[in-house]
């Protein structure tokens, strides 16, 4: 397949006789030998599977070559070897889902209704094998051909009861070697159950069988609570031993022990195995070739302080290969790896760039619209249904249409070249293309306009493929009529389009980082090492923040040594100016052009900068329960760290030590999980055991959330004899000070008996609470969530930036996180900031932004109040002082202000009211 010629029309796949399993759909259905990897693939190009293709295997068929209107098929292509010179390598090979076939107890291969979570994920998807409809016998095709399958499919039904089994291939060294926690399965199981329930319309019975519910991510705990409380999803703490199948109905019978020790039999229509994440054999081998050191579980070995740097110089890693993780952490990893790779290469920046030739723009203002209409056949995609010649003829009859032409592929290179010629020859000043979706093709056509000297906003595209020929396949007449309607509307709008200007954004390449903790220092260091002047603002008198209070990381690294080294690096870096004892007093401006007033002690000074990174961190809760503060033996985790740091010899002499988890976390007034405390306590418990193996160490917990390879610590603690006793939110342990003793009473979950423990040391694993800095949030117009953490741009895809352009976030101000994650996010924030800084001279606003008609503006301020990007503000000077004006740099063109303006003073350029109306009226003419 010649990817330069393929236009992704799909005509080949329609006729291709070869079939093989569709890996994207978890092999639940088949795809043709010529295929696209998945519907959203970028670029959208077809490929041939040489193992299945009849032409390549048997030299028969050759249909696709005959059909392809773009002549893109090339059976002679050979595997090529490409040599690249690279300064850094980012190794991000991902994972493979655990294959449960080898588990005999769950009978995944034998039972029709046992599926993996990956399969279930596809079943739930609208583009999946069942188009989102959950049915039993999901592994069989919708219309099977084999006789025995046909019989089975007759029994197919909408399931009423589905169970999820957690930790399949995770936290398991009996049946597999995966001692670690896969980190993501609890959350995805809850999500799948919620969606399944939504699809089924509510009466679906969903049960999740789990060991510990691990939802330590941002907003996860609330989701879990919601699933439980509001959506009635059942959470059963039990590891199910085995599954049997009813031979007749194929329902699945299970037997399990509930929390009270009772044996329960139950029947489900379907069972979903929540499979874990695994590093494949191939990846391990490749890592070996690259000379990267791995952990025993197969993940890349990295340090907490260089969390994306592999053991081999110049190779950086990200994603699950680094450790099991969810989407936002993967994105952060990727950002961080990019910045780490960039740090190493900063000297070589811009050495390989080429400039683009600029074509002068024709001034069309005041000219009568001369519209060129191009109707695309898209091979047979459109033409097979719509009478494209008729539509073209019709287009010629429309007002202001100077020229109309039909093209087999309007997006092909020669069609583009012709378009440029026509524009010049016929003096066209507006272009309408009726083809596929502007989402993928608008930029291409706009570029063509630019090449012909037309402003790219003099372009209008209408979709007569996805919205028309595809959906009205069986009604060609109506489809043709609809195509005409769409073209008429597009022409009506195009006639009113105006050239729009893209303003250049000036970027001051100085960065201000607020917060001198680990995350802030990391961000500053990364930016500085790429050559940007960075100001690091710290409220306290020294850098380091909360990390000063930590003893060691989960991987056993000494925090203070590393911290001291980092501080030294920061202080000696000539690109970094550290401002301790400094507070932020005012912020003005916007992306690329911020100005702040800062105050050091009593001296105020101004700082101009282009980018801000908020790394304000969080702090530990001071507990108000469990008799804290009333006895020196009752301390917090950080207090205990301090004693470790100070090498307190008394610790070895303790007879018993107790940890209480979730002190202030996961409760109604603070519903989130503080993420770090389980590992912290487990680690500290091990430290105590190391100092005195005879010591009785208890951890009183609700769920142990040692996600990822932290699970190994949990395992080790149990091996060392640390005793874990679970409690629930309604029955917290009670701490009493009696006769000089610290006594802790609670109910033992195994024995179901009350127990009382006398502790020489009681450590409270306190919640991490945000600083809830509303003033700062206001300064930069960035939101805080209910708990007081900053709300990032996108929970999954934008975890280190804000919706406000030019402002980034990292560290525990975003959400509680351990050292390695804080550092990753610090790097990620720097990385995101670099994407702006690197475009310094090449950054333009969009043309489709809001603008204010000052004559109509009533200066009521609704726009100012309502804009999520702070783009409108009141003009402070000039003839129209007091009226609203839109900052082109900040405006995202969302139209919120346009809709909210009572006076009708705000217009969205490129989507102006008269354009929209002209479209509606154009449609209305035939009504």
């Amino acid at each position: 397949m010649d990817v330069n010629l393929c236009v992704g029309c799909g005509a080949c796949a329609e006729k291709c006789p070869g079939k093989f399993d569709d890996g994207y759909n978890a092999n639940l259905k088949q795809r043709t030998a010529i295929y696209v990897e998945y519907p959203q693939a970028v670029p959208l190009k077809y490929a041939i599977n040489p193992k299945v293709c009849l032409k390549l295997t048997k030299d028969k068929c050759g249909l696709c070559e005959e059909i392809c209107p773009a002549k893109a098929i090339d059976y002679t292509q050979k595997e090529e070897r490409i040599t690249l010179d690279a300064g850094s390598i980012i190794f991000s090979p991902g994972f493979k889902p655990f294959d449960p076939s080898r588990f005999d107890n769950y009978q995944y291969t034998n039972f029709a209704n046992v599926v993996t979570s990956m399969e279930f994920e596809r079943i739930l998807s609208a583009t999946g094998p069942t188009m989102g409809h959950v049915v039993t016998f999901p592994k069989l095709p919708l219309n099977p051909k084999k006789k025995q399958d046909k019989l089975l499919v007759e029994k197919r039904k909408d399931p009423k009861k589905i169970a999820w089994f957690q930790c399949v291939g995770s936290r398991d060294i009996n049946k597999c070697d995966n001692a670690y926690c896969s980190s993501v399965c609890c959350m995805y199981a809850v999500k799948e159950a919620m969606i399944a329930k939504e699809h089924a319309g509510g009466d679906l019975d969903c049960s999740i069988f789990f060991m510990d519910m691990r939802t330590p991510g941002k907003e996860f705990e609330k989701y879990y609570e919601n699933a439980k409380e509001k959506h009635g999803i059942k959470f059963i703490r039990s590891r199910v031993h085995s599954v049997t199948e009813d031979a007749e109905t194929h329902d699945l019978n299970i037997r399990y022990v509930d929390e009270k020790g009772g044996i329960i039999d139950d029947t489900f229509d379907m069972i979903v195995l929540s499979v874990g994440l695994e590093i494949s054999k191939e990846t391990r081998e490749l890592a070996g070739k690259l000379g990267i050191e791995l952990t025993p579980s197969g993940f890349c070995k990295t340090s907490s302080f260089e969390p994306v740097t592999s053991s081999r110089d110049g190779i950086y890693v990200s994603g699950v290969f680094n450790s099991p993780k969810d989407i936002p952490e993967s994105v952060l990893d990727a950002n961080a790896a990019a910045s780490a790779a960039g740090d190493a290469l900063s000297a070589a920046r811009n050495t390989l760039t080429k400039a683009v030739e600029k074509i002068p723009e024709i001034n069309v203002v005041g000219d009568r619209p001369k519209i060129g209409v191009f109707i695309c056949d898209c091979g047979s995609n459109i033409k097979g249904v719509v009478d494209c010649a008729g539509v073209t003829e019709y287009a010629r009859s429309l007002p202001y249409v100077e020229f109309a032409d039909e093209a087999m592929y309007a997006c092909s290179q020669d069609a583009q070249n012709k378009m440029v010629e026509y524009i010049k020859e016929k003096n066209l000043n507006r272009i309408v293309v009726a083809a596929c979706t502007p989402k993928t093709h608008e930029p291409l056509f706009q570029e063509t306009l630019t090449n012909a000297g037309l402003n790219k906003y003099l372009f209008e595209m209408t979709n007569i493929r996805n919205h028309n020929s595809w959906v009205h396949k069986n009604n060609p007449d109506i489809a043709t009529q609809k195509a005409k309607d769409l073209v008429r509307m597009a022409v009506a709008k195009a006639a009113l389009s105006e050239p729009l200007k893209e303003e250049k954004i000036n970027v001051n390449d100085t960065v201000m980082v607020i917060g001198g903790g680990l995350a802030g220092m990391t961000a500053a260091k990364s930016l500085a090492s790429q050559g940007y002047k960075t100001h690091l603002i710290e409220k306290k008198d020294k850098l380091g923040g909360e990390a000063h209070k930590l003893y060691k990381t989960a991987q056993g690294e000494d925090v203070q040594t590393h911290l001291d080294q980092l501080i030294r690096e920061i202080e000696t870096n000539e690109n970094i100016t550290v401002h301790c004892n400094t507070t932020l007093e005012a912020v003005d401006g916007f992306v690329g052009n911020f100005k702040s007033t800062l105050k050091t002690k009593d001296t105020a000074f101004e700082l101009d900068y282009g980018i801000a990174v908020l790394a304000t961190g969080a702090k530990a809760l001071v507990p108000v329960e469990y008799e804290y503060g009333k006895d020196p033996r009752i301390i917090t985790s950080l207090d205990l760290d301090k004693r470790f740091k100070e090498k307190d010899a008394g610790l070895a002499k303790l007879n018993s030590a107790v940890f209480i988890q979730c002190v202030g976390s996961r409760q109604p007034d603070r519903p989130y999980c503080s993420r770090v405390c389980c590992t912290h306590s487990v680690d500290n418990a091990i430290e105590l055991k190391k100092r005195n193996p005879e010591m009785d160490v208890f951890i009183l917990y609700r769920d142990i959330r040692t996600y990822g390879e932290r699970e190994l610590l949990y395992k080790k603690a149990r091996e060392l004899g640390v005793i874990f006793i679970r409690y629930d939110r309604e029955h917290k342990p009670e701490v009493k000070l009696l006769n000089g003793k610290v006594l802790i009473a609670l109910n033992d979950h195994v024995l179901n008996q009350p127990v009382e423990i006398e502790a020489d040391l009681l450590t409270l694993a306190t919640a991490i609470i945000p600083r809830r800095d509303e003033r700062l949030a206001n300064f930069f117009k960035v939101p805080l969530n209910d708990e007081g953490f900053f709300v990032e741009k996108h929970a999954k895809l934008g975890p280190a930036e804000f919706a406000t352009s030019g402002v980034f976030v990292c560290g525990s101000g975003h959400y509680p996180k351990p050292v390695n994650e804080a550092i990753t996010q610090g790097r990620a924030a720097a990385s995101r900031a670099l994407t702006l800084l690197a475009k310094k001279d090449n950054l333009f606003t969009s043309g489709t932004i809001a603008s204010v008609d000052v004559m109509k503006c009533s200066q009521c301020g609704v726009c100012v109040a309502i804009c999520p990007y702070s783009a409108p503000r009141f003009a402070t000077e000039g003839r129209f002082a007091g009226k609203a004006e839109i900052n082109a740099v900040l405006c995202k063109g969302c139209g919120l202000c346009v809709a909210s303006c009572r006076s009708g003073a705000i217009h969205l350029r490129g989507f102006d009211t008269n354009q929209i109306f002209s479209q509606i009226f154009a449609l209305g003419e035939v009504v």
Partner: protein
């Protein structure tokens, strides 16, 4: 009210005398019975022209926009709430206005009084709670309480919510169990009857836009009804256009209206246009717990996005 007007005049005199403000906006006596007219005075001698009585039914907040220099304004409870709305909506700055608050016992319903007489009223006097009204045919003594405007009868904010000085003792606020009986009465009708009610209501509208122009909220430089590109609404007497004007104007006031009654007061055709706005006021209260003009720091609910918005479409 007599003592109150003395107080107002004194305050106004002092303010002008000490040049603390450039002008004072208040009411003066009209040329016909039951009429008062908004007035602006710049000299302390003119303070004698100021009056305040139960015929001052217009809303002076409508007169304070785009004034130069500092001005003083006399404000009833509702006027003061509209001043608050003006401050929120950037129409005046708090330090540009000096508010002479007047606790209010309600304004009279002029058309209800006129309806008692077959011919024109020749004389109207007010003495505390008693109104004396005379025509060529008869003379009536009326209890003011029985002739209050509907909005005043249902008012729960008679005392100014914001002021620099109060010209009189605060009055007792009414507490109503059912603050929206009028809305409920219409709501109890069936759909066709409701439609007829509004058709009948606007039947005589001449589209003079007195309701809009008397409303302190309607300050857009170009009102949507005057807009010609796009023309949102026809400009003739077509009943659909008339109704569209009324309900859209009301909607623009949603969450902002203080039910000051100036619209109905100004209407030369005696149309109670409040039937439109009242429903929205009730909704704003029921859905958002919101009454306009009570809080200088919060924008009206329709100006703001909130994730816990009670509207179901937001989910």
């Amino acid at each position: 009210m007599d003592t109150c007007i003395q107080k107002i005049r004194e305050i106004a005199f002092q303010l002008l005398d000490k040049k603390e403000v450039e002008r004072v906006i208040g009411f003066s006596n009209g040329t016909i019975p039951m009429a008062t007219s908004p007035i602006t005075i710049a000299s302390k001698q003119d303070t004698e022209k100021l009056v305040f009585n139960s015929t001052c039914g217009l809303n002076l907040a409508n007169y304070i926009r785009q004034q130069k220099g500092k001005i003083a304004v006399i404000a009833k409870g509702c006027d003061s709430r509209n001043i608050v709305t003006h401050i929120i909506e950037n129409q005046v700055k708090r330090d540009q206005i000096y508010i002479i608050g007047v606790p209010c016992k309600g304004m009279i319903n002029k058309s209800k009084i006129k309806a008692l007489f077959e011919d024109e009223i020749l004389k109207f006097t007010e003495d505390g709670e008693t109104l004396t009204v005379e025509s060529s045919l008869k003379k009536e003594k009326l209890n003011k309480k029985d002739y209050l405007r509907d909005n005043c009868r249902l008012c729960q904010h008679r005392n100014p919510v914001i002021y620099d000085v109060l010209a009189g003792e605060p009055v007792e606020e009414q507490v109503l169990d059912t603050p929206y009986p009028d809305v409920e009465k219409i709501a109890a009708l069936d759909a066709d009857a409701r439609w007829l009610h509004f058709q009948e209501l606007t039947k005589n509208c001449i589209r003079c836009y007195a309701c809009r122009n008397a409303c302190p909220l309607c300050y857009c430089p170009t009102c949507f009804v005057d807009e010609s590109g796009p023309q949102w609404v026809g400009k003739g007497q077509d009943k659909t256009d008339v109704n569209t004007f009324h309900f859209l104007r009301a909607f623009h006031c949603a969450g902002r209206c203080t039910d000051c009654g100036a619209c109905a007061e100004a209407c030369p055709m005696d149309i109670n246009v409040r039937d439109f706005t009242r429903k929205l006021n009730k909704d704003a209260f029921d859905m958002f717990g919101w009454e306009a003009g009570l809080d200088q720091t919060k924008r009206p609910p329709l100006d703001a996005y909130s994730p816990d918005d009670p509207n179901d479409f937001i989910k």
